[in-house]
């Protein structure tokens, strides 16, 4: 934050130095103008100016600003050019007093016009105008930078909020999914009850009837049995159908889902992939899987950005107290990693379950997500 202010301060100092060099340079050409008093005044003027930028307290700053102006005016008698130094000081003086300096300082700058000798009048007005424009531009740029900085902070805050809301929504979605599953189960049991129950009952009745009829009217009995067989067949068919509906698709499971995603990735890009895992995968809860998968996707995106990789390996390991998921590529890596939003996102994701993310660029690029768990 201090950097932009320092920069604009240096620009102001540079401007003043240029003006001083100009006025002093003029005095060099004439033999008589350099007197000891003149040198002393220039030195004191320099001192008060330096103090102005070093002091923190407003009242002291005001004092040295007034002193600077006083010294310049004292020099004015013998060196009328010195008057050109005044606009910058008057502007700074105005900036201590009032917030909106435009009008106030331009008015203040007009005051010395009363003193200015005729031949310097135009030059003075020029310098005053340049000073006004220069300093206002500096202020504008300074404010803009500061504004952008706070804007950035605000946006970062927003991002964080949005992120947490997303998290909450996901949680809600998971809940909804669960209720959906319950409903589905209900529907299934209803289906089983309705379809298969009915089929079995009617098959049973027909078979009972056939048993009684088998000695009296064997033809009739065989007809009934045929019917029962048909109904049973339909029932089995219906059971098959319902069971098929009930079983979740395999790709929804953690490891399989990972495999699926990685396969998709290697189909799309010319990068070899390898997925390995060790330890008891049952310890990885759906939330953990979600974080691991999201971080992996992010790592892939990162990898594509910092080119040079031809192969990537994904390794998930369940340790006694930690789950470790690593995505490593064989690219050039990067000595000092500057954290972008991608990495920060991964860190925040991991932090929601107390995990950590290590990004390393020393041998290729690797992203390791460490998530603690209680077995």
């Amino acid at each position: 934050m201090s950097e932009p202010r320092d920069a604009s301060e240096l620009l102001k100092i540079g401007y003043k130095v240029a003006l001083l060099v100009f006025t002093v340079g003029q005095s060099l050409s004439s033999e008589t103008s350099i007197t000891p008093w003149y040198i002393l005044s220039v030195l004191l003027y320099l001192s008060t100016n330096l103090l102005f930028y070093m002091l923190k307290k407003e009242s002291f700053r005001l004092l040295v600003a007034v002193l600077s102006i006083g010294i310049a005016i004292a020099m004015f008698q013998d060196h009328p050019l010195v008057i050109l130094l005044l606009p910058a000081h008057l502007y700074e003086l105005a900036s201590i007093f009032v917030g909106k300096q435009g009008i106030a300082s331009s008015l203040l700058m007009m005051i010395p016009l009363l003193l200015v000798p005729r031949q310097l009048m135009l030059l003075y007005i020029l310098i005053a105008a340049v000073t006004l424009i220069y300093f206002s531009t500096l202020k504008l740029y300074d404010n803009k930078l500061r504004g952008q900085h706070s804007e950035l902070e605000r946006m970062r805050g927003d991002l964080e909020r949005v992120h947490t809301r997303l998290q909450e929504n996901n949680e809600f979605l998971r809940q909804a999914e669960y209720t959906l599953k319950l409903e589905e189960r209900n529907r299934l049991s209803q289906d089983i009850h309705d379809n298969i129950g009915h089929a079995m009952t009617s098959a049973l009745i027909q078979m009972e009837a056939a048993k009684r009829l088998i000695k009296i009217n064997s033809d009739q009995a065989s007809l009934l049995l045929d019917n029962a067989i048909h109904i049973s067949k339909e029932g089995i068919e219906s059971i098959r159908f319902d069971l098929k509906k009930m079983k979740p698709p395999t790709e929804q499971m953690g490891v399989n889902r990972m495999k699926l995603f990685i396969d998709e990735f290697s189909d799309k890009y010319p990068i070899r992939t390898a997925f390995t895992y060790e330890g008891n995968m049952d310890f990885i809860s759906p939330i953990h899987w979600k974080i691991i998968q999201d971080n992996m996707k992010e790592a892939f995106t990162n990898m594509m950005k910092y080119a040079g990789a031809t192969a990537v390996s994904i390794h998930v390991q369940v340790l006694p107290l930690l789950i470790k998921a690593t995505v490593t590529d064989n690219g050039q890596g990067k000595g000092k990693i500057v954290k972008g939003l991608g990495i920060i996102g991964m860190e925040e994701r991991a932090a929601t379950v107390g995990g950590k993310v290590i990004v390393d660029g020393s041998r290729g690029f690797s992203v390791t997500t460490l998530i603690p768990y209680t077995p």
Binding site: Q317, L319, P320, L321, L322, K324, T326, T328, K336, I337, V338, K339, K356, I358, V359, D360, S362, R363, S366, T368, L370
Partner: protein, 312 residues
Amino acid sequence: MNMLEIKQLTKKFGEYTAVDNLSLSVQEGEIFGFLGPNGAGKSTTIHMATSLLSATKGEIEIMGRNITKHSRFAKQAIGFVPQDLAIYEDMTAYENVHFFAGLYGLRGAELKRSAIEALEFVGLADRQGSYPKSFSGGMKRRLNIACAIAHRPKLIIMDEPTVGIDPQSRNYILNSVRKLNRRGSTIIYTSHYMEEVEEICSQIAIIDHGKIIAEGTKAELKAIITNQKNISITVRSTERLPMEQLKSIVGVNTVEAAEQTINISSAVEINNLNPIIQLLVASGVEIRGVEAQEPSLETVFLTLTGRTLRDE
């Protein structure tokens, strides 16, 4: 009491984050190991704790007092052994220690006594009149330590005090660290040599890329990556092996017997070597060798980060 407490400390150099939201606390009386590869952010953290660097974010307390608000108190409480040798080549060993101890306010006879004592402590008393340029690397390191301990600080922070020295000096320094700890100083010991940290530290934090990735005692750290240890016993013969009794010893999971070796896999946190051996001896099994394989901190680091501590 917490000797050192670091709360959410962050240090950025431009855009680069050297220390990343790091929190830790060091209890009084500990030898706290700060383990991590070069460039992990150990030194940066240490420099912030010793007021040499200002933090970008976060807070540091020494004995419950904020170090920026109580700068003098904090500096007085710490003895700092920097990673880069900080000794004056144009002053003798004694003059060096004398000067640094004097900076902490010691004067007169007390100063002289403390300086000599510190030199004795690091084994340089007989060389006190010599100039550091005649010293070996290890001796310079020891002098560097003497300069930090003469004022008897409560907390001694050592930043890689054994870099580039011979094994003998290293052992000497490690012993000194233990002695200092027994004398009542809390010690923070930074190193990328895991053997050292494993040998002397009671509490260890593993740091990588500015973050603490694991923290705890040696056993706790090892428990993160495995809960098994392997005990391999060489015997003359396994004929009279009391298999069932062995398996019933607390912690033992599996026992495999080959012709002359018994491999026992056991819970890492239980020390059951004694009962196992006693049982074997009592059963008349002749023991020829015992080897207990535990994972090292190096393995912990390797497992967690996929890299070694030293880039060879």
